[in-house]
């Protein structure tokens, strides 16, 4: 009986004082394993994602969209599902797409996107310069964003590959008024600047942001500056589901689910250990008295 009591006490203590590397190991295993054998899970589409989908669906042929990769490469890892699903929709609607980046690490993203969407681009006869263009790193700071909003060609004369943009569809773009939509994929680098110099002036904006930014971006949705907000990888997965184009988002949802459950189980076990150990200690103190 005494041995059983000792064992029970040490379980509570174990739950409070375990090596945190055990959690690290569990996270590694629970995330990697489902990725090696992905299987589909059903997913519920949130109203926010539905609004985002409707905005892109409302685009017409030859509308001019500015796509901004406002993220470091780590952010791209999180929101690549939303990026690929959104831009695929734009290509399917045959809109004209100009891509700009605001971080040096993001200069490698456009080519990755083009490589993955090559099939759709060929299907809709996308020609560089006529239907899409990669402008590269043109938004290093707020002043450059403001400058392009007031006089686009004062900042941008060449594309990312050093070719002149004269003779492309950007000849008709001079100020913020000439864009049909700004689609910002952001970790917060120039999102504030885009809001201040494009969104506030009335250029429609949609945003796909990382998870930590969701709460800070909500006020702009309610004030009407953002037409829609796509939330992190989960939002990207929902968009993939809506557009019937499974990609990195949907295949990640298994790992995503297990990661969430692991955290909840860890918190519950931690609390069981804490309260159990606390009552053990107070019982011990009473016995000693």
């Amino acid at each position: 009986m005494t041995e059983q009591k000792t064992e029970k006490r040490s379980i509570y203590r174990m739950l409070v004082e375990y090596d945190r590397r055990i959690i690290y190991l569990f996270i590694f295993v629970l995330i990697i394993a489902p990725l090696m054998q992905p299987f589909s899970l059903p997913i519920q589409v949130s109203p926010g994602t539905m609004t985002y989908y409707n905005v892109i669906n409302g685009l017409k042929k030859d509308d001019v969209v500015l796509v901004v990769f406002d993220t470091e490469f780590s952010g791209y890892m999180e929101i690549q599902s939303g990026i690929l699903a959104s831009i695929k929709m734009m290509f399917e609607h045959e809109v004209k797409v100009a891509i700009a980046v605001s971080h040096p690490e993001a200069t490698g993203i456009p080519q990755l996107v083009f490589d993955q969407l090559k099939g759709v681009m060929d299907q809709h006869h996308y020609i560089y310069g006529q239907n899409y263009i990669n402008l590269g790193y043109i938004f290093p700071n707020e002043a450059s964003v403001a400058s392009t909003a007031q006089d686009f060609h004062s900042i941008v004369r060449q594309d990312a590959y050093g070719k002149s943009i004269q003779g492309t569809f950007l000849d008709n773009v001079n100020t913020w008024k000439d864009w049909t939509l700004i689609s910002d994929y952001t970790t917060g680098i120039q999102s504030g600047s885009l809001i201040n110099h494009y969104g506030l002036r009335g250029t429609p904006m949609i945003v796909n942001c990382i998870g930590v930014m969701i709460s800070t971006q909500m006020p702009y949705v309610s004030s009407g500056i953002y037409k829609a907000l796509l939330e992190s990888m989960r939002g990207g997965a929902e968009l993939e589901y809506l557009t019937s184009s499974p990609g990195p988002g949907l295949t990640a949802m298994n790992s995503f689910t297990l990661g969430h459950y692991l955290l909840m189980i860890a918190i519950i076990l931690g609390n069981i250990g804490y309260f159990g150990y606390r009552s053990e200690m107070s019982r011990k103190a009473k016995e000693e008295r």
């Binding site: 590397r21 690290y24 996270i27 995330i31 990697i32 990725l35 090696m36 780590s74 952010g75 791209y76 890892m77 999180e78 929101i79 690549q80 040096p104 690490e105 200069t107 590269g136 790193y137 043109i138 290093p140 707020e142 002043a143 450059s144 403001a146 004062s154 900042i155 941008v156 004369r157 060449q158 809001i195 201040n196 110099h197 969104g199 506030l200 990382i210 998870g211 930590v212 930014m213 969701i214 709460s215 006020p219 702009y220 309610s222 004030s223 009407g224 500056i225 939330e231 992190s232 990888m233 989960r234 990195p248 295949t251 990640a252 790992s255 995503f256 990661g259 969430h260 955290l263």
Partner: protein
């Protein structure tokens, strides 16, 4: 898959797992290797990209006839005077111009986006919409008012103000629970996205697992041999 692609995956997986060795709990030379690689090559990338921006915006603009942009180049070179302590005061003029301009850009718009529009969006739509929409809007409006009252430091919180602050405090804790969940989702997504990069397509998996085994085995062996601290750079 060609040799370049394989080398990119192999080296990338190795360095990335080296970065993860910080989770082992002790500083180690493999983490230092990954850290200094990122700092070095990342700084080089930033310099290259910014030089290109200065060339495309400034130099090409001047060549196109916009001679006013030469002031940008001259002022930019003056900023670099900060490197020489004896002449660092030269950088004050371009910094003053840049700061004044940045304040002008920020203040002319932030007043609307961060203040007036937010108040308008909170207060005005309180009487329109269906039941669920009204419930949401009133919850937001009342929560904002109660939460703001929690941060009143200029007057003693008593009577109705004390209750308002107390409700605001509890509303904030409810919000923090949601924010924690969203933040965790964001960080988890980053990790899942990174792992996807090294598990799709499946030929990348052996490189990932191989790097995991080799790197962590090396760290454990170095730790057992008491060589970790000797080989790790000083902070």
């Amino acid at each position: 898959m060609d040799i370049i692609e394989v080398s990119i995956v192999g080296v990338g997986a190795f360095l990335a797992i080296c970065m993860f060795t910080t989770l082992y709990g002790k500083s180690n030379p493999l983490y230092a290797l990954a850290e200094e690689s990122y700092i070095g090559f990342g700084t080089g990338l930033t310099i290259v990209i910014n030089l290109l921006f200065i060339y495309k915006t400034g130099i090409l603009g001047i060549q196109a006839g916009d001679w006013l942009l030469s002031f940008g180049i001259i002022l930019g070179i003056m900023v670099l005077a900060r490197i020489i302590p004896k002449y660092s005061y030269i950088a004050r003029v371009p910094i003053a111009i840049a700061i004044g301009a940045q304040f002008g850009l920020a203040l002319r718009t932030t007043i609307f986006t961060g203040f007036l529009d937010q108040i308008r969006a909170t207060i005005f739509p309180l009487l329109t919409g269906d039941a669920m929409t009204l419930l949401n809007r009133w919850t937001i409006a009342l929560s904002v008012i109660f939460m703001l009252s929690f941060f009143f430091y200029t007057t003693e919180l008593k009577g109705p103000l004390r209750w308002s602050a107390r409700i605001g405090e509890y509303a904030m804790y409810v919000a923090f629970g949601g924010i924690f969940a969203q933040t965790f989702m964001g960080r988890l997504s980053l990790f899942v996205g990174f792992m996807q990069n090294y598990t799709v397509p499946p030929w990348k998996i052996p490189y990932l697992l191989g790097s995991l085994i080799i790197v962590f085995a090396a760290v454990i062996i170095l730790d057992r041999a008491k060589l970790l601290e000797k080989l790790t750079p000083e902070e």
